[in-house]
Symmetry: D2
Subunit: 433 residues, 4 copies
């Protein structure tokens, strides 16, 4: 049976062993090749990962072939899936993404607010470039995108290439797991209906064994503690859920509890703990020390501190579904195509889809709930203007994008943030010259 080749873009990431672990723990009908690719600056780390991954595989009898390739064209050749997990500018850029907004009293976070905007503008042209390369070399392959901000990146790829692309995020799966824990049941018994955009989605119904139970969960106020790791807990969230009649993604706290979240970030930075990126950087350094150790051939427990729980679970579920004749329901980032009535067919949304070897189809949802419609529509406009700005290198469009982001607060901040962006990330933004 022919080999299934999976190419990992940004393979020098400390996450890669998590992915390898997932392939080891799952059974595939076909032999697997995992091809590791990174740019020159990531080559050294990729080599470390490659050797570690080979050790991981060798301990098992799995038919998994680890390769690496530093030339994008040959890395893509014959591949069926491309996993995007690169970060333009690596962790140093992320740390800037987090710190610049703090100067203006704004949330500094890698996917949300000004930081997410910086990240998006740097990443969009690169993501499109890879997809356009795929058009020539592996036009039928799927992109499975983890690169943040994932929803925006997927929409950019869809708008500027013909490559099939699915955005993945571990948040929806984590929310489902958390609800299963509350219900003391297996995750398979829980089905959550999602509505919204990546890092801006809500659960609008929970089915337990086929029965809708969200209202009863709300009535029992079980949500005081239900929130994914890494995101601070806010007391009033339980009241908010009762009033929304929806369970917001933890990232919604940046919108509904902006002051509190800003305070928390500020305190961590001032106390010397550093931004999340700075904290991650330390963990990553430790991880690479472990990966280098030729005596170690198992995914280290420290990797869990890195965040991104269930990252490989969702990736492998998706790849298996796309190879299978049995339809599976998953929550992914994909073309709206009518799922939510108020969004255009081409808008990328985070939504329930049915997946099998004939592809991905989003399920119909109907109208967006009125209590969140405005936020979702405005953020989608922000996303579209961000993509257009990044592609055209337009400062004016960048300003209009930021004016549509509720975490920016006004024209002056927008103007300052864009000036900072152009000076701080100059090398990554050639289109803006």
């Amino acid at each position: 049976m022919s080999e299934l080749k999976i190419t990992v873009i940004g393979a020098g990431s400390s996450y890669t062993p998590e992915l390898i672990d997932g392939f080891i723990k799952n059974d595939f009908a076909q032999p697997i090749q995992i091809c590791l690719y990174d740019i020159e600056q990531g080559e050294e780390k990729t080599k470390i990962i490659e050797n570690f991954a080979k050790r991981m595989v060798n301990k098992t009898k799995k038919n998994i072939n680890i390769t690496s390739d530093m030339i994008i064209e040959s890395a893509l050749e014959n591949c069926s899936f491309v996993i995007n997990q690169f970060r333009v500018g690596f962790l140093d850029a992320r740390i800037k993404d987090e710190k610049i907004p703090l100067k203006y009293g704004l949330i500094g976070q890698e996917t949300t607010g000004a930081g997410g905007f910086f990240n998006a503008v740097r990443t969009i042209p690169e993501a499109i470039r890879i997809a356009q390369t795929m058009e020539k070399i592996c036009p039928d392959a799927w992109i499975i995108n983890f690169t943040n901000p994932s929803g925006i990146i997927v929409e950019a790829i869809n708008r500027y290439s013909n490559i099939k692309c699915v955005g993945l995020c571990n948040v929806p799966y984590n929310m489902r797991i958390d609800i299963a824990k509350v219900l003391r049941t297996d995750v398979e018994n829980v089905y959550c209906e999602f509505v919204g955009l990546n890092h801006l989605s809500f659960i609008s119904e929970v089915y337990y064994m086929g029965k809708p139970i969200l209202q009863s969960l709300i009535d029992k106020r079980v949500f005081a503690s239900q929130l994914v790791k890494n995101i601070p807990k806010i007391e009033a969230v339980s009241d908010l859920i009762r009033q929304l009649r929806l369970i917001p993604s933890p990232y919604l706290q940046y919108f509904y509890f902006e002051n509190e979240m800003f305070g928390k970030i500020k305190r961590e930075v001032e106390s010397g703990k550093g931004t999340r990126g700075e904290q991650v950087k330390k963990v990553v350094d430790e991880l690479f020390e472990i990966y280098k150790d030729i005596n170690i051939s198992e995914k280290p427990s420290q990797l869990d501190r890195r965040g991104g729980a269930y990252y490989s679970t969702v990736a492998i579920q998706l790849i298996k579904a796309l190879c299978s004749n049995t339809p599976t329901l998953q929550v992914i980032n994909y073309c709206n195509n009518g799922a939510f009535s108020e969004l255009s067919n081409k808008s990328v949304v985070e939504t329930n889809c049915v997946i099998d070897y004939s592809g991905v189809r989003s399920l119909t949802y109907g109208s967006l709930p009125s209590q969140i419609k405005g936020l979702i529509l405005q953020m989608k406009d922000y996303e579209k203007l961000t993509i257009e700005s990044a592609v055209k290198g337009s400062k004016d469009l960048a300003t209009l994008a930021l004016l549509n982001n509720p975490l920016i607060h006004g024209y002056k901040n927008a103007a300052c943030l864009i000036n900072d962006m152009l000076s701080e990330y100059k090398d990554f933004l050639p289109r803006f010259n």
Copy 2:
């Protein structure tokens, strides 16, 4: 484990043994009760069916309990599924539905054109009445509707009750089977994407083992012979398919080949063969002679001549799916809810859905193909006006409905047909007085 009660409305139909046969041939986790209900005029036939069905079951070891109940309220009590297969006015009304339009040179058919309109106007109030009774007695039960014209009946039930209702038709499944035969493969390897309304739907893509192959089938001109039984074959249909780039349901021949279809019906009537209803009546009489024979306890082969191949297959697939935690894809008549961009969320359409124990969700499709959009939109308007006319007993709305049906051809025919309807079906149309 608790019993699953299925109530059959219109149980005196000669089809019922087909349904019983389906329950016998499939395995269910729960014990089954099939409760047979019909109105007074159908009581005698229901008794014959009941006894025959009991003989069928007794030959097996299946845990199926056949009951009958002539009081609607107790028939509905504790039931989980209601199968609608009644016909208001029985076959005599069908024969009128077929004959009246012929007077005006129009297609006479039980689901399409003027005949389908007569059928709908008689049936809609009764279907709504049953659903509204269910609201009081079994509000969580599903209606599985076979009563024709199925799409209109489902939309009427949705608009005037809160009961969950799915419309079934054996045509999409038959088309899929026919394509599987062309491909010489099992039906499970074929997935067809449908677009349109009941008896007005098209296959817009065929997937074989996950790969889209419609264009290659068209290029090979394999469709010259691919058409469901009972519907006459037209030579030019293969050209039509090539130009539409869609495979029309056999019922679309009434629209695209109206003259030819009219000629065929006319010849059959003039030759003494009779309308389809008259032919069916003879088969039904023969069938009931068999059903009465206490020595017979197996579904007779003559039942296949009755039409409606795979009728029980699709019904039982659906019931099993609605009881299962594994999602299944089926083509049913259900709320659009965004599946087709140009139709309102509440419009009932024939479309691909994913089904499990948490319910039914239609898959997104996007925009209707421009070559069929106008026909579909106009027929949906016809359907809505028909429902409104039947509910209100409005002759004016009935006229407006018929003016929107492309098989009526003008105001004078509409006016004559409505006059005939009011005199010929007087007893069934109390709301029009």
Copy 3:
């Protein structure tokens, strides 16, 4: 004050003196140049018209300069308005448009059904060519289009050029005049709200001195006789209006009373009276005899028999409005832009607009009435497919267009009509080779 140049395309038409007469009878702030243009085959008639027009003007003291120019580029130079009134293939082609459909038992008419389709397919490329020439020579000029089928031609120009274009038709104004006559009042006191497409529009409300009165007119059954000249009268139309609660354009009789209209046309042809085109041809020949007579310098009364009453009235009202700072309400064919909710923004519709020197804006109407929505949407699809077919020279698209026209009746007629078209109008359809 600078001269206002108006270029007439198809100036050899017998209608031109009607237009000249309109310019004479109205006052303009600026001096007027009317530049007559026609293709080579129309040159002789244009010369006759030019001389007659000069005599007409000379009898007055009006500042109107009649010129002619047989080179399109110089004819368009410096012009502010282009009046399209050309017919591809002249009256001979019209007569074919009327006769070919009769072979298949179908309506033969120059703007509707198969005849209108033939006319559209011939005309669309020519209309686009003129508009694209204007883009280079007079990009700010308006096209005022009378060339039939007017709505389709305007949409084709909008889709394939950036020239501002308004479609005019005398039917809405005639309907308003007829209603004013019924009310025994001046036309200025009557305002009619239109909904639909060109030759497929309805009056949905009539305001008399600011008060809505349609329902009271319907109650009084005043519409038995209210129909524009040249269109036969049908008895049942008064019932139809009562049930529609809308006044259909006379052209809607081809849809609602197809059999009766076909019978009338058939009888006229069989009786030797000829098609409308043949009748017109005789009138035109008489008219040109008069135009040649150097002793005559007034619009002859015979011109009224030609049809097209108020043709110059609506043209001059529009030109004056587009030069004025006072807003005027007129019914024209223009981009929908949201006027009717169910049609796309770019679809050309026949609707109420407000016009002044800053341009044309359609008034919002809201949802299409459900009793006519299906017909309008299907005909708009027919129109779009017709345009696409004509531009691409695609026989397949032509078939799909005809399948969407309710006056064609099936695939076989569509196939035959297209074969006839390709042989009968071969010289005018180079794109189909």
Copy 4:
């Protein structure tokens, strides 16, 4: 000729003489009755106004009859226009509206942000009550609404009554005047295309003598100083306009320059100058001293300091247009009805309309500009949730409303503001108990 009766609700306002002055300065075909109505607490001021108004009229020969009536039913009898200019809770409530938000670092303003929300929630039930009274007494009369927040009040009236209602605001007219000043021309030569909602609208094109000139105005940077009185000037506004390619209403500064506007308000309060409401209160007291003076019979110049320039101009233009057979273009708050593609037909928007004695019709605009679409859609959701909350007296809906207002900043502020609202305006909010 019959008398035209205009009933003023909230006649005790210091603005009323401005309105009277407008009626005096304009000519009407009919004799005018202006009926002054206020609630009991406004009776004394109304009497002062009534006497002053009578003196104003007596100095002229105008056929204007000033009356007063403290019973709403008789005040409404036979009236053709109702002018809403009442304020629930008078200026004291306004001052609270301005001060409460300041506690939380939020903009305190009577129409925008939390203050506008308080005002809306108090006012909506009263506005609906008046409209529902009109349904019984003067069902054909128009409401001309000045009561703030005007757009929300008009939408509430539309949703909960059948009375025709137009919202007026002097801002669009002032913006047009300001542009005319920039162009050194008469206001009649300037036509502005508006897009958006009340106090949230933008000019998307300016026509001077029929020619679009916005881009050239932007290129000349003429907007640095162009802003209506009472709204502070921000330097960067000229950059903002260049990037938006739209001229925002002065009220948009609260959104684009929130920090700067908050600082300005804060400074005025801290310096002892007081909120705008406190400043107005002083002016009003002075004005009533003047109104009481029986020797004075002319509108005092101090009234201009009150704000609301051209208030009577727009009111009288509208009333005259609704009585006239000549269509006029005005910018008003009215049902969207398709004017802006992304808003529902029933949403009230600030838009260009054509008005005559047959009523009001909004002009089609097309899609909302992407740079402002998100803000407009979210604010419209805020408005709808506000109306629903006020009508139902729902604290939960009030929270959801505030979460959709970009000037509230998070759940905690929303919760605190609603608690304050319920205690501070207790007497005006009986539905919340």
